[in-house]
Symmetry: C2
Subunit: 208 residues, 2 copies
C-alpha cells in the first residue's frame, strides 16, 4: 500500500495526520475541528441531508472517530448544537454599552447567517431533539432579553423593564421571519443600526 502519497498535495499541516492513537493535544484540537466543520456541513445540507461520510471528510477524520467521540449521528448533532449555544451565551462582550448599541449588536447577531442557520436546524429537528430547542432558546433569546431588561432598568427604571421582551420581538421583526425562510440576506451594519433605532423609538426608548 502506497503510504501517504495521496495527502502530499494538501498544504495544511494538520492533514498530514499519522495513523494510530493521537496525542492528548491532537485529541482536543480534533474535537473542536469536528464540531466546527460539522456546523458548516449541517448548515449546508441539514441534519437528514448530511451524511456521516460527508461529516467525516469535512473534519478530516474517519467515521470510526466520529463514533468513538459522539456515539452516533444524533450525538454529533447534539454536541454541535450545545457547543454553539454555549458559545452564543458567552458572547457577552457588550456589558458596558448603551441601549442603542446593545440593540444594534443583538440585531447583527441574531440575523447573522450562522445563528439563523442554527435556528433553522433546531426548528427543523425540534421534534426529534426537543431538548436542543430548549437549550438554544435559553442561551439565545432568553439571554438577550435579560440583557435588554438589565439595560432598560438601569437607564429607565424598573417600570420599563417589561419592555425588554417586546423590544426583542421588534429587533427580530418581520425581517427575521424572512431570514428564517431564506428570503432575505443578512442586514448590513447600517441597516441593523437603523432598525434598532426605529424599534427603540416605537417603544419610547429612543434618544430624543
Amino acid at each position: 500500500m502506497d503510504r501517504h502519497s495521496s495527502v502530499s498535495a494538501r498544504s495544511s499541516p494538520s492533514s498530514l495526520r499519522k495513523r494510530g492513537r493521537p496525542t492528548a493535544d491532537e485529541r482536543r484540537r480534533r474535537e473542536t475541528e469536528i464540531l466546527t466543520t460539522a456546523l458548516s456541513v449541517f448548515l449546508k445540507s441539514g441534519y437528514g441531508g448530511s451524511t456521516l461520510d460527508e461529516l467525516a471528510a469535512a473534519a478530516r477524520v474517519t467515521k470510526r472517530t466520529l463514533y468513538t467521540f459522539f456515539g452516533d449521528k444524533a450525538g454529533l448533532f447534539a454536541a454541535m448544537v450545545t457547543d454553539l449555544a454555549a458559545a452564543v451565551s458567552l458572547d457577552a462582550a457588550y456589558d458596558s454599552d448603551t441601549l442603542e448599541t446593545l440593540a444594534t449588536r443583538i440585531i447583527s447577531r441574531v440575523h447573522s447567517d450562522e445563528l439563523v442557520g442554527l435556528h433553522r436546524l433546531v426548528i427543523a429537528e425540534s421534534t426529534r431533539f426537543p431538548e436542543l430547542a430548549r437549550i438554544l432558546h435559553s442561551s439565545g433569546d432568553a439571554r438577550h432579553i435579560a440583557r435588554l431588561a438589565e439595560h432598560i432598568r438601569t437607564e429607565r427604571g424598573p417600570a420599563s423593564e417589561s419592555l425588554a421582551e417586546p423590544l426583542f420581538s421588534l429587533l427580530l421583526g418581520e425581517k427575521h421571519r424572512r431570514r428564517l425562510l431564506g428570503i432575505d440576506p443578512a442586514p448590513t451594519a447600517a441597516q441593523a443600526a437603523a432598525h434598532a433605532d426605529a424599534a427603540l423609538r416605537l417603544l419610547g426608548l429612543g434618544r430624543h
Copy 2:
C-alpha cells in the same frame, strides 16, 4: 376536511376499495384526501422523515397513485404547501372586524399548531424549496400585514399605517419563537385576546 369516514370499515381493510379507474367524483375526493393526509404525515415526521409508503398508506392509495398525481415526492410536498398556503390566504372572513378582534384572530391563526407546523416544514426545506418559502410568506405574513395596515388606516389615518408591520411582529412575539421551537403550546383564546390587547397598547393603538 372531507375525511372519508369508513372508520368502521377498518375491519375490512382498505382493500374494500375496488381496483380499476375511479369515477370522476372519487378522483377529486382522493386528491383532497391525499393532500390533507400528506400534511399530517409531513407535520409528524418532516419531509425527509416521511416515506412514500407512509404517505400512501395514510391516504389509502398506492405509491403508484401518488406518482400519477404529483410526479414525485417533491411534487407532492409542493402541492401540499401551495394548497395550504392558498387556504390560509383565503381565510379572510375578518373584513368587518375591529382592530382588536382582527389582531386576536391573527394571533390565533399564526400560533395554531397547523400553521406553526407548516412554517417549520417550509423553514426546514427552504434551501430545497425556496419558491415555497416565498409563496408561504406572501400568502401568510404579507397578507396579514396588509390587513392590519388597512384597518389601521381606516381607523387611525394613513399616518399610522406604518405601524402594521411592527404590530404584526408584536402579535407573533417571543411566544411565536417558542412555538417554532416546540417549547410552548398554542395559546388559548383568552391568551390570544390579552396578547393582542397588550400589543396594541404598546403601539398606542389600544382603546382607551
